[in-house]
Symmetry: C2
Subunit: 165 residues, 2 copies
DNA sequence: GTTATTGCAAATGATTTGCACAAGG
DNA sequence: CCTTGTGCAAATCATTTGCAATAAC
């Protein structure tokens, strides 16, 4: 975990007159221990393994806190549950490609895309605050070779596949 | 309303072995009578004005039907309710800019953006199926002049402003 | 001590679903 | 007829909230 996160959270907590608690510490540790996306419920599961007392409500409230502090971002993958992405600190303007074959999510950063969209924004008379791009795509490997390395990798790593809402 | 819609729906209904009903006819007429985005509940309100019998369930079921037939699309504006966009038939690859000042939603189509993102997609080893871009932006007019024509327009037209989830 | 935070359980709110009856083909 | 569609009310499910007890500071 990037060591700056705790400091930024402490700063946010101080500025807002809030308090440091063991639950918040634990949840933050878990959220930023991996670079994987997660839902509130998945996080609750991981938190419960560490501390069997922490409540679902506290998990939700801490997620809202982290989003407000701009340490964590909600992303839309078209599922019924909100997905959280802990990687915006490292990759501030990344976007997501979702493979419709295997459900894998690929993060990408591309300056040219950012420039193009910002150009459109200015042409329309606005100033970009934030943008999100979701690309749904099919796997070229799977189409050509009948198999897809991403799919194999995700099976091996046990990554969560995409569910429809 | 584009006259092709009814035909495409009929074709879909025939192909699937489904049935034409008065409720579906009415809902489709209402959905495509304007180019405005709407939620299921807003649509239900409009439908009820025409036919006081139609149920909320039928509205939801017909929306799902239209989405499946690819006549209507769900878009994510970060609200708790799903937003439906009836304009993809006319503008097949448009995207959305949301003004954080006034909540206005501006649709735009831009070939260069599409080319850039498709380029990224191919570089990653995928083939684009569909993409959606959401730009959150502030109004330059408001920043410079202290007022925003979009905001004034939306007040005048009584357009729905954005709610947070 | 004062105020924020927590856990619990209940509430919320959008959407979905089971079922008996209605209606399309 | 036979099956799909509808309306109703109940169910679902993620998320939020009220409240009394607890813990920061």
């Amino acid at each position: 975990m990037d060591s700056g996160i705790k400091e930024r959270l402490d700063e946010f907590i101080r500025r807002k007159g809030l308090r440091r608690t063991v639950q918040r510490e634990q949840i933050v540790d878990i959220v930023f221990s991996k670079d994987e996306h997660f839902t509130a419920d998945e996080l609750f599961g991981r938190v419960r393994k560490v501390d069997g007392e922490t409540s679902r409500a506290t998990v939700y409230r801490t997620l809202a806190l982290l989003v407000e502090a701009d340490l964590l971002r909600q992303i839309d993958l078209g599922e019924s549950q909100i997905t959280y992405d802990p990687n915006f600190l490292e990759k501030p303007s990344h976007n997501h490609l979702v493979c419709i074959d295997c459900g894998n999510i690929v993060e990408f950063e591309d300056g040219n895309v950012d420039i193009q969209t910002d150009c459109v924004t200015r042409r329309l008379g606005f100033r970009t605050i934030r943008q999100s791009i979701k690309i749904e795509a099919s796997c070229e490997q799977l189409r050509l070779n009948g198999r897809c390395q991403n799919l194999i990798d995700s099976r091996l790593s046990g990554k969560r596949l995409r569910r429809k809402r």
